[in-house]
């Protein structure tokens, strides 16, 4: 029981990861795939951020009288990863807009149908 409760941050990360991953694989709608991809990425961000917590540690800003700080490095890494995620989402959605203009649909199976008929 302790094992399950003590690692709750990992359970949340795994749960979100699987939701995102499943959405990417199972949905045929291109926008939903991007949403799934986003959830998948965010779960990884949570994994990093929760890992950096130090029990009883303060926020990593130098303050007089504070000895114990949380690890700031994962925050910095994830700031970079978030920016990458934003760029990926924007590019993905831009592609979806263009696909919609070219095919008139954003459902994967309908797109495949149109291409085979060509």
């Amino acid at each position: 029981m302790d094992f399950i409760i003590g690692h709750y941050n990992y359970w949340i990360a795994i749960f979100l990861m699987m939701i995102g991953f499943y959405t990417v694989i199972s949905r045929g709608n291109l926008v939903k795939k991007i949403i799934g991809l986003n959830i998948f990425q965010v779960s990884v961000f949570l994994l990093y951020i929760s890992m950096s917590t130090v029990k009883g540690g303060a926020a990593p800003i130098i303050t007089a009288g504070v000895k114990l700080y949380s690890n700031p490095l994962p925050h910095v890494l994830i700031l970079t990863a978030i920016v990458v995620g934003v760029a990926t989402t924007a590019l993905g959605l831009a592609l979806v807009v263009r696909i919609k203009e070219a095919y008139g649909t954003i459902e994967e199976d309908e797109i495949h149908q149109q291409d085979h008929s060509l």
Partner: protein
């Protein structure tokens, strides 16, 4: 939404505050939480709010897209340029210590300039993305 009086008044009074907050986050970034990424996004949120309430054309008059494109490039160039300046001053790339009289002063100046570049690029790229999506399909 252009005709809604409440929205117009509220957003007009909010936008200056958002911009001031963005500047605070930008220039406080070297001592406390903050920095170019966050400030750029907050700053662009102010313009996006303006575009939502007063229309896309009005917002594009405030900041034309050619200027945005130049700003985005300029930001990256400031960032990289700081690195090149440190090279010429005899340090390694992005070694801010050589920028000032003392190590600390140099680091301070360096991070301020770099974050300024980051802020400019993030601000303009967010707006470019917004305008690109919102302006799609217009004549």
């Amino acid at each position: 939404m252009t005709n809604n009086l409440i929205l117009r008044v509220v957003s007009k009074s909010l936008i200056p505050l958002i911009i001031v907050f963005a500047l605070y986050v930008q220039f406080h970034g070297d001592y406390g939480p903050g920095g170019g990424f966050q400030a750029g996004v907050i700053m662009s949120a102010a313009i996006i709010l303006y575009a939502l309430v007063f229309g896309l054309d009005a917002a594009e008059q405030v900041i034309p897209s050619t200027i945005l494109r130049i700003l985005a490039s300029l930001g990256v160039l400031i960032y990289a340029g700081v690195g090149v300046v440190t090279l010429f001053l005899g340090g390694n790339y992005l070694d801010y210590s050589v920028l000032g009289e003392t190590r600390v002063a140099g680091q301070h100046l360096g991070i301020l300039l770099v974050e300024l570049g980051v802020g400019m690029t993030v601000f303009s790229v967010m707006l470019i993305i917004f305008f690109a999506f919102a302006g799609r399909g217009r004549p």
